[in-house]
């Protein structure tokens, strides 16, 4: 694991959390959409919060796909869960919201889970190890 790869994992957690928060904030100001007016949802994109939220979610998707290209799904997924911890900490320290003891326990469990996985190898499957041993040549053909 290089420092860049740790940054990609941090990016997954941060971009996902920020994107979701922006979408939620935007949709609250946009208001509820009745099923009969479902196409009204498209104009939600014009809301600045929703627009910015989509940008962050695109960044999340790029980081997520990049991480999946060099690490296992069971390695990358806990990193996405770390986003929940980010949201809770932003709510506590920037929005001064109260966090109940049960939620603090949730934060501790997620952090411990992420710690367990991060301590192990990022790549485990036999298929991938063999790919690693025979890298593609510059023309993209396996030797």
């Amino acid at each position: 694991m290089t420092p860049v790869k740790y940054f990609v994992l941090l990016g997954i957690a941060a971009f996902g959390a920020i994107g979701d928060t922006l979408l939620a904030r935007g949709m609250k100001t946009f208001g509820s959409v009745a099923p009969s007016q479902i196409f009204h949802l498209f104009s939600a994109v014009l809301n600045p919060y929703v627009f910015l939220g989509i940008f962050f979610l695109l960044a999340f998707m790029s980081a997520y796909l990049s991480a999946l290209s060099w690490a296992d799904l069971t390695y990358v997924l806990p990193a996405t869960a770390f986003g929940y911890v980010f949201i809770a900490l932003i709510a506590r320290f920037f929005l001064h919201e109260h966090i109940s003891p049960i939620r603090w326990l949730g934060i501790v469990l997620i952090t411990a889970g992420v710690g367990f996985v991060a301590g192990g190898p990022e790549l485990s499957s036999t298929k991938k190890t063999s790919e690693k041993e025979t890298p593609l040549t510059t023309t993209g053909v396996r030797p």
Partner: protein, 126 residues
């Protein structure tokens, strides 16, 4: 009946998002390390190669299905039940699916992590 439909929605979310995640993971393993690929053939070629992978498009389609399942579940159940239940069950389902379909070696360390993260998400989002 409302409760039944809400749990049906949760089941659909778990199945579709797990399928989507596995397809995305498989697609990206087929493409190979994006960092190395970008150095080798440039950013444009790398993006093109990712977008041309069929299982990626299928994965994104399943993610869209999962989104609509979430909307369906939310229309029948409370967000305080649907959100944590679907998120935490998806983590455990993904560990099973990664072992079965992606041949990942899910050792004791990763099982523990999946259960810890699932429990943590349930407590935090609940």
């Amino acid at each position: 009946m409302n409760n039944f439909y809400a749990w049906l929605g949760v089941f659909l979310i778990v199945v579709t998002s797990t399928t989507g995640d596995c397809l995305l993971a498989r697609a990206m393993k087929q493409v190979g390390d994006l960092g190395a690929l970008r150095k080798q053939s440039g950013l444009g070629q790398t993006i093109l190669r990712v977008l041309r992978t069929p299982s990626l498009m299928l994965g994104i389609a399943f993610m869209a299905l999962s989104f609509f399942s979430l909307l369906f579940a939310l229309s029948w159940g409370d967000v305080s039940m649907v959100g944590p239940a679907s998120a935490s069950l998806t983590f455990v389902a993904n560990a099973f699916a990664a072992k079965l379909f992606l041949q990942e070696k899910v050792d004791r360390r990763r099982w523990t992590a999946a259960v810890f993260v699932a429990a943590g998400v349930f407590l935090l989002a609940g």
